[in-house]
């Protein structure tokens, strides 16, 4: 594959994806795109920078979407100080289908911008680290979501960009196994939504991460 763009948050899934695309798809020119959207865990962006450097990307662009939190004010615990990040155990079954950490239409915004960047740079393939969570879910991380976004992009009369989400049906432990085999340095990835100095261990993504490491039976060196 000549060129590819990876959406890189700096979390476990997208860091794995970056190295996966580089090594397994033998990409010549690898690009990475990250977003500063007012997330409480902006700490992830330093990890994104580090992973991009490790993977030797041709360009890593961090797009300043700091206005986004204001645009969706009150819309998400991930961006709004007045809405606390919940513990996973405090979420009801119904809430787990669309938790307070869901960010309104964020992923379509990210993929649209990624497709614009890719199209302008002659990159046909965009990789997105969506992954099926066990414990909670987001509609904009599903296989259907990616398929429908591609149905939009396919209408382009020029050279259409395609979104690939190779991990969309994998469990987090599967992703972790792939990354460990590729030698990904997980001590330089960030998951915790609370974004404190150390991972909180109880927010939804901390629990998912811990479960994945436990399942695989390795130590998470970040903790």
């Amino acid at each position: 594959m000549k060129a590819a763009l990876v959406l890189l948050s700096g979390g476990l899934d997208s860091a794995t994806l970056l190295h996966f695309v580089k090594k397994r798809r033998k990409v010549q020119d690898l690009y990475a795109l990250s977003f500063a959207y007012g997330q409480k865990h902006s700490r992830e962006l330093a990890m994104a920078r580090r992973q991009a450097r490790d993977a030797g990307v041709k360009e890593h662009r961090i797009v300043d979407l700091s206005f986004f939190g204001g645009l969706i004010a009150g819309g998400s615990a991930l961006t709004d100080k007045a809405i606390p990040i919940p513990n996973l155990t405090d979420l009801s079954g119904r809430q787990r289908r669309q938790p307070p950490t869901y960010v309104p239409n964020r992923n379509q915004v990210f993929l649209s911008l990624a497709a614009a960047y890719a199209e302008a740079h002659g990159i046909r393939d965009v990789f997105y680290g969506a992954q099926a969570q066990d414990e909670y879910g987001y509609w904009d991380c599903t296989v259907d979501f990616v398929r429908r976004i591609n149905q939009v992009l396919r209408l382009n009369r020029g050279k259409a960009v395609a979104i690939h989400a190779p991990f969309a049906l994998l469990k987090k432990a599967d992703v972790l196994r792939i990354g460990l085999a590729l030698g990904v340095d997980y001590s330089h990835t960030w998951s915790c939504y609370r974004g404190g100095k150390n991972p909180c261990g109880t927010c939804p993504t901390c629990v998912e991460r811990r479960n994945a490491f436990r399942t695989v039976g390795v130590e998470d060196e970040l903790r």
Copy 2:
């Protein structure tokens, strides 16, 4: 209709749409959203502000996407100084299907941001002024594009936002007739892609606008 959001560029179509939605759909709380994305014709934004005020919107937000021109550098004559705005008559038949004034995936970016804003504000209906041009075309102004974007948004497990493009199958002259009947002040709308002090009269959108006024048989007071 309780609340609605209108994508407002400040051009003829979206200005008409704003007043159309307000009056014909009897919207209580009308919102407008505009984007400063590095367009050469940013003059349109002053017109957007004026139209929003005339329509008595509850909130008119102009989102600063000035990074967008850099993200798609070289991707569009609308944002790149090195790429001249063409005259319509200089475009070949093939070019008219995707002219240099096409902006890579811009409209999906705009609609995604609009849907995010709407979802966070409890607004279910977003109006988009896409309109079938006679002389040239953009894939992201078509009925199919809007339908497929809605297929994405419909996956939302919360309250899904719907995009409406009531002018998508109309000619510009039809839109103009609707707006004249509604009393829209077209002297405060801007179309010209070149964005000079006066409309150039020869770029694709100037020609479309002139043809529409000629067809309807009224004078364009902007000229």
